[in-house]
Amino acid sequence: MAGNAEDETLAVERVIDAVERRALACLAAELDLTPSRIERRPPETDDIVIRDLTAIVAAGPPVNLYIAFSFGDALLVELTRSLTAGLENIEEDEGTLREAVAGEVANLVVGHCTADLAGRGEAIILSPPILLGPGTIIYGSTGSRAVAHLTLTFDAGVIEITLVRPGRPLDLIRKFKGID
């Protein structure tokens, strides 16, 4: 018999713990970046305002969250420089590369988180990263709501990580694709 979906959903605290741990490990190992400040705070409003380039990965049951990574401009420039160093035949423009970097970091961090969050049941399904540009607002009235914020501050700028509990997951994915 299928269990109660609410009972099977992981606690937000457990997910944000895993995201913080894996983000710090990934940024340190791959980019030699250590934040000068780590801050968690509760969401201020139900609406989610996208101020910087943002990559969102949807994580299926039992996580049931959208995990959004917003990158400050200056930091993203530095990350792009580091991650594309030594690569040949780069024909893409700077904007495309920055989007690729944002998606890559989100994908790596959330992908690695699944090792901490998976139980003994089915594998946690992840979406590919979805990119949102500055100026986008996801209204709380759609049923989705931010449930946790984490800010990692580096010398070159910040990464804002927001956990979003969707009202209706598939509708929200369609909405993101429609905005993109």
Binding site: A100, V101, L108, C113, I124
Partner: protein
């Protein structure tokens, strides 16, 4: 060292470029880079590579479904999964689908080289 024709399947621009650079560095030929699972199945038929590196999470068809599609066409196809998934269940699903091995993202060139050698040694 043996040189192989390899097809890279990954929707991530950075990962596909990095894997391509690593494979060139190791002396292999990258015959095709695909961004989707459906494209991978089509291009496999055309290029018949010795080996495929396959991402798991892609927009239209995931890498596990694409691996099954390639193996339906060529049961001897050699596919290595390249994934950021840290969970054991996903790796088991990929191997059950017929993948010969896997490497974790971010891809380490030494581990990729060892996995290619290990997979190509087996019939």
């Amino acid at each position: 060292m043996a040189i192989y024709n390899i097809m890279v399947v990954d929707d991530s621009l950075l990962t596909s470029k990095k894997i391509t650079a690593m494979l060139h560095e190791q002396g292999h030929r990258v015959v095709q880079v695909c961004k989707t699972g459906a494209e991978a199945i089509d291009e496999y038929r055309f290029h018949r590579p010795n080996l495929v590196t396959m991402d798991i999470t892609m927009p239209d068809m995931d890498g596990i479904a694409a691996t099954i599609g390639i193996l339906e066409h060529d049961p001897k196809a050699k596919v290595i999964m390249v994934t950021s998934h840290g969970q054991e269940q996903m790796v088991v699903r990929a191997l059950d689908a017929g993948a010969r091995g896997y490497v974790l993202k971010p891809v380490n060139p030494v581990k990729l080289k060892e996995m290619i050698e290990q997979v190509m040694r087996r019939p």
